[in-house]
Each structure stands twice: as C-alpha cells, then as structure tokens.
Amino acid sequence: MSYSNTRLVPPFNRSPSAVAIRSVSNYAADVEAILWEMLQELRPPVRDKSVLLKPNFVEPDIEGMINTHPVVIRAAREAFLRLGAKSVIVAEGPGHERDTEGILEELRLRDYLGPLDRSFVDLNTDEVSQVGTRTRASRLKSLFLPKAVLAADFVVSMPKMKTHHWVGVTLALKNMFGIVPGSCYGWPKNVLHWAGISKSILDINSTVRPDFAIVDGIVGMEGNGPIQGTPKASGVLVAGDDPVAVDATCARIMGLVPERIDYLQRAALLLGNMSEERIEQLGETIANTSKPFEMLPAFQKIRA
C-alpha cells in the first residue's frame, strides 16, 4: 500500500534497494522497449493492483525540459499493464498553472494516451480526505490529499531530472508535491514553502509512500530550474523501487553529492537508502552515464 500501514524503517534495519540506469539518446528511441527491460529486471509487484503514475507537469514548455515526456508515461503505462496491473491511471496536480487540461494539450498527452477524461485525474481538484502526516518535520500536522492517490495500490513517481532554485534538485521525492491539491492549497502550493520545502518533502513522502520511481532524464534541466533553466540532454532513464535511492543515484549522475542535499539527508533517515553501498546498481553505471549539471551559485556547494 502506498498510504497507511507503511512502516518507517530506520537505515540499520533496511534491505538494499535496486536502481536501474539505462542510456536513451532521445525520445525517438524505443523508450517502451527500454523501460520494459528495466522493469523486467526490477520486477515491481503490481499484479492485480491499481497503479497511479504521477508525472511532473508544471506548465507548457516548447523545449521539452520542464515536464515528464508523454513517451515515457505511455511506456510506463504499457509496461505496468504487461506486468499484470489491474489498472493504470495518470494523475497530477500542476503547481503553477490552474489550467491542467491546457498543459496536457500542449504536451499532446492525448495523442499518446487517448481521450484523457478516462485516463487522467486532475489531483488539484479531486475529492480530498484529511490525513495526518506520518512525520512532523514541518509544522504541517495533517494534509488534505486526493482520494485517487490514497486509494491507489501502487504509486509511481515519474519526475523530470531537473535542478531546483530552492532545494537544489527536483526528482522523485520533490515530485510528490504535485499530489497536494491546489484547490485546498493554491497555485503555487505556498503553504508547503512556508512550512519549509525540505521538511514538507519528508512529510509528504512519509505519508504517501511512492512505491516506485521512474526518472525522465532523457532531456532534463540545469541552471535556474525547475522552470527557467536550460535544457540538459543527459540521455538517461533511471528507475527503482526506492525513491530515495533513485534520487541519490540521479544526483550522482548529475554530478552532485546526495549527502549534501538537505531533503535527501532527511529522507535517508526514515524512508530509503542513500549510500552507494546500499544500492544495487542494475544496467549501466553512474560513471558511464554521468553528465554534470550546471548549478546556480547558491548550490555550488552540493557539487561533487
């Protein structure tokens, strides 16, 4: 289960995590076949489960560096269905733009998934339930969260590989900000900023545990991310069953030291593995796929 009954496991009592890395030159490549191979290696337990894919949609962008690419989303949907998932829906609550359908249409998501009134849920306006946060790192004692997320058996965080001007990087854990509904918290979800972004990341991810992560790093963003940076063709897909391990691996690919990223440090205490010794690397190596990202001056300190 992604929500409730998910124990917080301290590092000394945690089993190793598996993370797969594959080079993908561009979106015209056979992403579906590549992702299928990755998931066959990782074998996520989705048989007969309802799967919710949570991409990162922020606002329209013509250079394809802000939002998770629809090719990757379709590939994930097909792969999870082939693995026996009962259903797969795509769900997101964009943080800056109220017109969710406008983003989807600019992205041409319908061309990849078919009519979206059946396959997509706008998390900004879904029915909500009030849920106590499992950790209390921030001052948020509870959150109103969408029922589509709370009801899903298996949540997959599908971010873009990007820098972030407030917290350094935005990957699988930060992507979960998008489950917090704009109808309750606004556009942007300013409450989370006031509560502390890093602390809120921990509270959200401890409350709704993403079961899996797939990072679209085929084209990412460096510099002044997550919106105003420049495209970074890092040519990589990263996937795994532990979002903390996936984020730490992505950070290393980006030429960063995950231990210096505040929210990853916090997450590694309770949610997943950060150290390389605790991560079984499948597919290609970090060294072979590493392409250091340009960082804003405020985040030079997290570079390797």
Binding site: D99, E101, P115, D117, F144, G186, N190, W194
Partner: protein, 327 residues
C-alpha cells in the same frame, strides 16, 4: 460526441454542441448539481465552494434567482459559510480561504436574501492579511530572498490560504468582490485594501505584459505570463484599461488567444477580451471542438466559464464605461 463515464448517462446522444451552444453548458451544469444544492469539481464529486460559486455565476444569466437550482445553491453556500465569515474549500475541515471571495460574489450576483452572508464574508476578507510584513517574513527576506525575487513586499494583497504570501489570482478575486460590494455595505478597510491590492497587481506584472502566479522576476529572469492570472488581474483592473500595463497585458492575451488549446483558458481569455472590447468570433466552434477532445476533463469550473464566455458580459466584471452603457 462520445459519452464519458457516468456523467453523460443523463445526456442524450443526439445533443450537439454546435447548435444550442448557449444552452449546452448551462444544461450540463444543471444536471451536475448535487442533491444538496452545490457542485463538485467534477460531476458526482461532493459539493465544494469554488465550483458551486462558478456554477451560480454562470447560471444566474439563465435562471431566475428564485429558481429551484439557484435557491438550493444559495442554501448550500450559506450553510457552508464559517462562523468567522469565510468559506472553506469544501468539507468544512479546511480553514477559510481564497474561495470566500468567489462565494460572496456568487451570492451578490443572485441579489437574494444573502446580504448578511455577503457582509460577513467581505468583512472577513478585508480583515485578512497575507503573511508578508510579519516578523518571520521580514527575517526571511533579509536572510535569503532579497536578491532572488524582485517585487515590493510592502504591497499586500491576498493569499490562497491563511498565513501565506499574496498571489495574483486570490488578490484579483478579492478585488473584484470588494469592488462589487455596494458602498453602503463596504467594510471600513475595503477602500484601502482595494487601493493596495491594485498597486500590488501592477507591481507583479511580468515584464513585457501579462501576469504569472505572482513572481514576475526570479533570479533576474522574467517570468512567463499565464492565461488565468492574466485574465483575473486584467478583470480586477478593468477600470484602468488605458494604463500601459493593462494595454500590454490585453495585447499579450489577444496574441495568445488564437493558439489556446484548452477550454478553460479559451473561455476565460474570451471573457476578458470581451470586457476589454477585443473579443474575437468563433468561440462556439472552438469550444465545441475542444469539448470533443477530453470533455473538458469533466471540469465544472471550465463548463461554467464556457457558459459565461458564450453569454454577455456579467455585471460583476463590467468596466465602469460598460456599466454606464448598460444603464
């Protein structure tokens, strides 16, 4: 037109958006009303404040305020109001917030027996300040953000939620409401709040025209304007149509209008351009085509905006010159 899940069970298959467009969206809204009188964000979801307010604002052009539809909607809005005068987004467990302006506006538009609710709501809004200016905020500005964002933090509007910063859209909604409160009932602070809110919107305009959520310049990089905040800022500032920033914003909106691919943005942009005397034709056809794509994702606010865009200019966003003409 394809039938969606559940929602379209009520809808006859031969219904054609291209012919009775003016009636189509109001009909959808009527059929989506919950038994308790409110609307959810999608049909069959529990009633919440924002979609109920937009539905009322859309339907008041098509129904008598005493109609069963609007009377029960009024009842829902009144029972959802909190003791302090604000409205929560939905369940009643949330704090009072940005939707309060929309709920008040909906009740004003009905000109019904809701005067007391409106006065309490407007009073709450005029007494509710965002977090800029408090000690924590000033400390943060000194510590980090002074060189990051470029705006006048002394100008305070309204936030989305209590104890957070001012943003363009909730400020615009609150301004439109306070502008529509008859002078006799205006809270004492309203005039000052309106003046400061208008200044705040001008301060937050993106370089080159239009508005985004409220950060026009971050790390020295100009923000990209977006449709919804631009529309609501322009509507809140509709009485200054010749101001350079209004002119730039309206021109940016006009240029974007042709390429819009979603019903919500298209309807809102059309409504705004109509107020600015720059609306273009073919809205019905374009909305019909877009409805065929994803059935508006079944969004009740999008249906309400489409309904409003296809009608005349609602009185609550008429500019002063339009209001005079109408009289």
């Amino acid at each position: 037109m394809s039938a969606g899940i559940g929602f379209y069970a009520f809808s006859t298959q031969e219904r054609d958006i291209h012919t009775p467009a003016q009636d189509f969206f109001p009909d959808l809204l009527r059929h989506a009303q919950n038994a308790d009188g409110g609307w959810g964000y999608r049909p069959e979801l529990p009633s919440t404040t924002e979609p109920t307010a937009w539905s009322v604002l859309a339907l008041q052009a098509h129904e008598e305020s005493s109609s069963k539809t609007l009377a029960s909607a009024t009842g829902w809005l009144q029972q959802a109001q909190m003791t302090a005068g604000a409205w929560p987004t939905g369940s009643g467990k949330e704090p009072g917030c940005w939707v309060s302006a929309l709920a008040c506006l909906a009740l004003i538009s009905l000109k019904g027996p809701s005067q007391n609710s409106v006065i309490r709501g407007a009073s709450w809004l005029s007494e509710t300040w965002p977090a800029e200016g408090n000690f924590l905020w000033r400390l943060r500005q000194q510590k980090q953000a002074h060189s990051v964002v470029h705006q006048d933090h002394g100008l305070r509007g309204w936030g989305w939620t209590p104890n957070t910063a001012s943003w363009v859209e909730p400020t615009a909604y609150a301004l439109i409401l306070l502008q529509n409160i008859p002078t006799l009932y205006r809270p004492s602070r309203a005039v000052k709040r309106i003046q400061m809110g208008e200044k705040m919107l001008y301060d937050r305009a993106c370089p080159g025209g239009g508005w985004n959520a409220g950060n026009p310049l971050v790390y020295g990089v100009p923000g990209v304007p977006r449709i919804s905040p631009t529309v609501w800022a322009l509507l809140a500032l509709r009485n200054y149509q010749n101001h350079d920033i209004n002119v730039e914003g309206a021109e940016w909106l006009r240029q974007r209008y042709q390429s819009l691919r979603s019903p919500a943005s298209l309807a809102l942009a059309h409504l705004c351009l109509k107020v600015y005397g720059r609306a273009e034709n073919l809205l019905e056809t374009r909305l019909g085509d877009l409805y065929g794509n994803n059935q508006f994702l079944q969004s009740i606010p999008a249906m309400a905006w489409a309904s409003m865009a296809l009608g005349g200019v609602p009185c609550w966003i008429e500019s002063s010159s339009q209001a005079i003409e109408a009289k």
